[in-house]
């Protein structure tokens, strides 16, 4: 009975059924993610073209990134995807405790990622890896590599921060009870979060693993 009430409360105009509404949310997010694929794909294409034009400068530049931070961050994000997947599944199954715990863990991993990233940025700045005057490497094309390093990690961090923000809001709403666990928002957030994770999965080999051998 409360289940039915909860489902009715989660249903919004103009949907006819909650099932369809959930499908709509997932579909809408997937279309949006298709758009995000093109967004990051555009930058990755630019990166790829320059990498094929200037392989040596890019390899030399990639060696300068901090692989420890990069690897730790990859592990953090992949783990956050695990907790996010569990949270979304938990919400769909109506498991309140699991959902809340896993959302909190996801947010924590996300913030952990940003903290590590902050340390890494600080190190990069002290190592003069910001393109411009006083840049550390000699090959001018190495500056292009670092242009992409800053840009791509920066845009990724913005995406991740958005995800953290939404996860926090949804978590608080679920905790207070103002948002039903049946709401499609959890699954939608999950899809977005996994996508942000996937972007990093590709940034990691491109930015950190080049020129190591």
């Amino acid at each position: 009975m409360s289940d039915i009430a909860a489902r009715n409360a989660a249903l919004r105009q103009p949907w006819r059924s909650l099932r369809r509404q959930r499908e709509g949310a997932a579909f809408g997010i997937w279309i949006f993610l298709g758009s995000e694929v093109m967004f990051f794909g555009c930058a990755l294409l630019t990166f790829a073209v320059y990498r094929s034009l200037w392989p040596d400068a890019f390899a030399a530049a990639a060696r300068e990134t901090n692989i420890t931070y990069g690897t730790v961050n990859t592990a953090l994000l992949l783990t956050s995807s695990l907790t996010m997947a569990a949270a979304a599944e938990g919400a769909a199954a109506g498991l309140r405790r699991l959902t809340l715990c896993c959302l909190a863990a996801t947010v924590a991993f996300g913030i952990g990622f940003l903290v590590v990233k902050g340390f890494e940025y600080q190190e990069d700045i002290t190592k003069h890896l910001v393109p411009g005057a006083g840049f550390r490497l000699e090959a001018p094309q190495a500056q292009i590599f670092f242009a992409f390093y800053w840009l791509l990690t920066g845009v990724h961090a913005v995406h991740l921060s958005t995800g953290i923000g939404i996860a926090t809001v949804l978590g608080i709403q679920a905790w207070r009870g103002s948002r039903m666990l049946a709401s499609p928002a959890f699954e939608a957030l999950g899809l977005y979060w996994h996508f942000v994770d996937l972007v990093w999965v590709f940034l990691y080999p491109l930015l950190y693993l080049g020129g190591r051998s």
Binding site: G28, C42, A43, T46, Y50, A57, P131, I144, F148
Partner: protein, 560 residues
């Protein structure tokens, strides 16, 4: 030529039930509405303003070009004028106009839905659009930007002294609005169709908006990223397209045109949808080759992504790439030709009524044919090398985007005006405006083909004297064109107060949107419709009195 409006207005219409316009009142009921019909009107207001702003740029350009010397504008002022004209017209008028006004209003009505799939996202999208528009106007007020709407590097990143950052930010933000709207449309078409409304029963306008939305979702983010790259390079000095550090300005052009060529289809595909609705209704005939029309729309939106390199034949791109893009560009001409032929063939054995929307539609077909055929010239590598960056190109894309898209916008507005406002526009004036638009357009832009082949480069505020005669012709034509644009705004506004009340279906059209009252109630349909037939179920065999004829047309839907 007998109009149907005059005969159709039903005297002594029944007392009006509350419509979406009157259901709620107060400013907040408009600014916080999630009703797609009201949001369409919000867009209409905003886009009209931008049309005037962008139009002011066009006026400045045409006055300046009256003489070969720089009389009115300095070089920098002229560069800012055409850049601003381009930026505003492309991103704040042409791209949002038909999808966001007519699409927003009609899409749920045409598929028998209560609203778009994500109504609040729809409202958010309008606010984002307004924020972007605010940034664009700020760009103008803070001195403007002088890079051309194409933002080519390294001029944009290192040399321009205009406010590039604000302009890029404006376009970037408007992209969010475009993507949000497009996601909404796609989800709506997939998930909100009325029972019985299968894919191949959809009106072509819905197909067109659907295909446009796909293009928007997949192309706009590329523009967003490339503008972000420009922004970062200019604002923070990080090199991305900087030739001093091994950067490649041609790569920028690839990415830019990957968006901007499909953007042309964002502007013109919705027009195809509008024209299909108008031609069928006023020829009283089923559209010729419905399936081919659908495939043509989808084919255009797919192959439209693969032809961008024809903007770059002289850029330093390799000859191999140029030839590949040339082949693809010729191939994309085929579905456009199919559409023109099919509209023409729809007239065969019809009962053609020459009301204003039909005149706009016929004008569209003519202008679009010229625009499309000159596209063949531009797809030919050697000819394009001569005419690219000249007035030939200027004329070509204005034929498609202004002759095409704007004719369709005005025709569509007139056609659905009774549905949107519940009032009939004055038919005589509208016919006059439609004819004037066709000829004014021709006078303005046809001379540009000639001076383009003669070698007049675009974006010149001073030019050799031998081109003056053509510029004077174009500027004179522009005066006619300007009146043709302003006149409908006048009589549309007039009709809001003095126009006659419109019945639910004044044109005897078959679409679902005509099965509800004019203007529609807030929830669109009193009882949700069920569809049992394909679209355009017109019967030209019987040419009886209009009132009788209307009953003979099976509406697409029924009230269960």
């Amino acid at each position: 030529m007998s109009g149907i409006t005059a005969e159709r207005a039903i005297p002594g219409a029944p007392p009006r039930e509350p419509s979406y316009l009157t259901a709620k009142t107060g400013l907040a009921s408009w600014l916080l509405t999630t009703d797609h019909k009201r949001i369409a009107l919000l867009y209409m207001a905003a886009i009209t303003v931008f049309f005037f702003v962008g139009g002011a740029g066009a006026v400045a350009i045409r006055i300046e070009l009256f003489t070969p010397q720089a009389d009115l504008l300095s070089a920098d002022a002229y560069n800012r004028a055409f850049t601003f004209h381009g930026v505003i017209m492309v991103w704040f008028f042409l791209i949002p106009s038909i999808p966001n006004i007519l699409g927003n209003f009609l899409l749920p009505l045409m598929i028998g839905a209560k609203d778009l799939a994500f109504p609040r996202l729809n409202l958010a999208s309008w606010y984002i659009f307004m924020a972007a528009g605010g940034l664009a106007v700020y760009t103008l007020l803070s001195g403007g930007v002088d890079t051309g709407w194409t933002f080519y590097t390294p001029l944009t990143t290192a040399f321009s002294n205009g406010n590039v950052l604000a302009a890029a930010a404006a376009v970037f933000v408007s992209g969010f609005s475009t993507i949000a709207t497009a996601v909404n449309f796609i989800a709506t078409v997939h998930l909100q169709r009325a029972p019985g409304l299968t894919w191949f029963r959809l009106p072509l306008f819905v197909w067109a908006i659907y295909a446009t939305s796909i293009v928007m979702v997949l192309a706009t983010p590329v523009l967003a990223m490339v503008l972000a790259l420009i922004f970062a390079e200019r604002a923070f000095g990080i090199p991305i397209f900087d030739p001093l550090r091994g950067g490649d300005p041609i790569l920028f052009q690839h990415l830019f045109w990957f968006y901007s060529h499909p953007a042309v289809y964002i502007m013109v595909l919705p027009s195809f949808g509008v024209i299909s609705e108008l031609v069928t209704c006023y020829a009283r005939r089923r559209v010729f080759g419905y399936n081919f029309m659908v495939y043509a729309i989808l084919w255009i939106s797919l192959v439209g992504f693969l032809v961008w390199g024809h903007h770059m034949f002289v850029s330093g791109q390799s000859l191999f790439a140029s030839l590949a893009f040339s082949l693809l560009s010729f191939i994309v001409a085929v579905p456009s030709a199919i559409k023109v032929f099919n509209w023409t063939a729809t007239l065969y054995r019809g009962q053609i009524v020459f009301d204003a929307p039909m005149i706009y539609a016929l004008g569209f077909i003519g202008l679009f044919t010229i625009g499309g055929l000159t596209g063949l010239f531009l797809a030919s590598v050697p000819v394009d090398i001569h005419v690219t960056d000249t007035y030939f190109v200027v004329a070509h894309f204005h034929y498609i985007m202004v002759g095409g898209a704007v004719s369709a916008l005005y025709g569509g507005l007139a056609f659905w005006w009774p549905k949107i406002t519940g009032r009939l526009y004055p038919e005589g004036w509208a016919r006059f405006a439609a004819i004037m638009m066709f000829f004014g357009f021709g006078f303005t832009f046809f001379p540009m083909f000639i001076m383009g082949y003669l070698g007049m480069p675009r974006r010149y505020h001073v030019y050799p004297e031998e081109f003056q005669v053509w510029h004077v012709l174009a500027s004179a034509g522009a005066v006619i064109l300007a009146f043709a644009y302003l006149l409908p705004m006048g009589f549309f506004a007039w009709s809001l107060i003095w126009g006659r009340r419109a019945p639910a279906n004044p044109w005897g059209a078959t679409g679902l949107e005509w099965q509800t009252s004019s203007p529609p109630p807030e929830e669109n349909f009193h009882t949700p419709p069920v569809v049992e037939q394909g679209p355009y179920n017109y019967h030209p065999e019987h040419a009886g009195p209009p009132a009788l004829e209307r009953e003979q047309h099976q509406p697409q839907g029924r009230q269960p």
